[in-house]
Amino acid sequence: MSSEWPLFEVFIRSKNGLEHRHVGSLHAADDTMALENARDVYTRRQEGVSIWVVESRHIKASNPEAAGELFEPAMDKIYRHPTFYELPIELKHI
């Protein structure tokens, strides 16, 4: 079977002031083509003002099975939140 074009992930900034967001993926021969195709597929109705594409294999993703060790340590650290600190109600602007 013929070799497939690599897979790219597409990120779009919908307007200045907002971050780029992942919108989907596509296959392309190289990054220039990926950018052009992303323009054609993902911004047909003015959905964006800027596009990033990156080959999917370059993304290192965390493993859901490691979610416990990665994210649980933050769960009992309620002192990182403002509501942990008890102040009188009559106090303003703090």
């Binding site: 079977m1 070799s3 074009w5 190289d30 597929v41 109705r45 993703a61 493993n63 859901p64």
Partner: protein
């Protein structure tokens, strides 16, 4: 074994709690397989669905109609892409998916095996076929598999123009000359029943439904969705002054729904099995597209490789 059972229970608990499943999460093999089958079938439908409509782009009666239809068909290509991408997150390659379509291993919606004989068919397809698809797709925006649900949200945003585009065509014809109205009626006659078949077999003949509902792949059954479609569409036909070709169709005050006649399930299964009017033609067209494009895909890869080495030697 018991570990597997345990994982499956945990998985079901996550679904019951309304959690979404993402690509790298553990999932039962059957959940993965069912999704590959359903998402790819959906993707193939978008792509094959471009053929009957593409048939009329060059013959659209006005520039306004032409740009509308062109934009719609272009959207369907995008829908195919979103869905193929979602299927690929489950560990199947685009190539395999395409081969499954061309060898008949994977199905697509049988509605696209009917021919588009007149311009009015383009109206009927937008109105009825996209209308039926929307009902299914709106439900699927809440499906349990994250990438599928996200693709559906994107698709639903684009779909509503498709249906309005179709209904406007029908409206123009229905309010036009007697010949035009007759064309519209004829298109409705031919596309009504196949549109109802799009929702799939009756619930009691759909063995996968129970599991799909449990996994929240589907949130409504085929019969529920079909009824919803008929209830929405019947008044729209009245508005056009056209007659739905079903003598048993009538409002049932007690049920709060329309009653309707029996679908010709023999026809449905014939078309699913490959004996519809256009099954062969559709697959031939897709095979030709794949074969004719092979050298372009190959050349683009070669060019990309050459450019990459050139850039590398420049950097040294």
């Amino acid at each position: 074994m018991s570990k597997e059972v345990n994982l499956e229970e945990q998985f079901q608990a996550r679904i019951d709690a309304g959690e979404r499943i993402e690509p790298k999460d553990w999932m039962p093999e059957k959940y993965r397989k069912t999704h590959i089958r359903q998402i790819s079938q959906h993707a193939h439908s978008e792509i094959v669905g471009m053929l009957p409509e593409g048939n009329w782009i060059t013959r659209a009666p006005s520039l306004r109609r032409k740009v509308g239809l062109l934009a719609k068909v272009q959207d369907e290509a995008g829908h195919g892409l979103y869905l193929y991408s979602a299927a690929e997150t489950l560990g199947i390659s685009r190539d395999e998916l395409e081969v499954q379509l061309l060898t008949g291993k994977a199905k697509y919606s049988s509605i696209f095996n009917y021919p588009t004989l007149s311009w009015a068919d383009i109206g009927a397809i937008g109105w009825l076929v996209d209308g039926a698809a929307i009902i299914n797709q709106v439900m699927l925006t809440r499906t349990s598999y994250g990438p599928y649900a996200r693709a559906m949200v994107r698709i639903c945003k684009e779909e509503s123009f498709h249906q309005r585009q179709g209904y406007e065509i029908m409206l123009g014809l229905a309010k036009g000359t007697p010949e035009q109205k007759e064309m519209a009626q004829d298109a409705l006659n031919r596309f009504w029943w196949p549109s109802l078949m799009m929702f799939g077999p009756r619930d009691h003949e759909s063995p996968n439904t129970a599991q799909s509902v449990r996994w929240k792949i589907k949130r409504k059954t085929n019969d529920e969705l079909r009824q919803q479609f008929i209830d929405i569409t019947a008044p729209q036909a009245d508005y056009l002054g056209l007659t739905i070709p079903d003598p048993d169709l009538k409002w049932n005050e007690e049920r709060g729904h329309y009653d309707f006649g029996e679908i010709n399930w023999d026809e449905f299964w014939q078309v699913v099995k490959g004996n519809g009017p256009c099954n062969r033609e559709r697959i031939e067209a897709r095979t030709k597209a794949r074969e004719d494009g092979a050298w372009v895909r190959e050349a683009a890869l070669q060019y990309a490789a050459k450019k990459a080495t050139r850039n590398q030697s420049k950097a040294v």
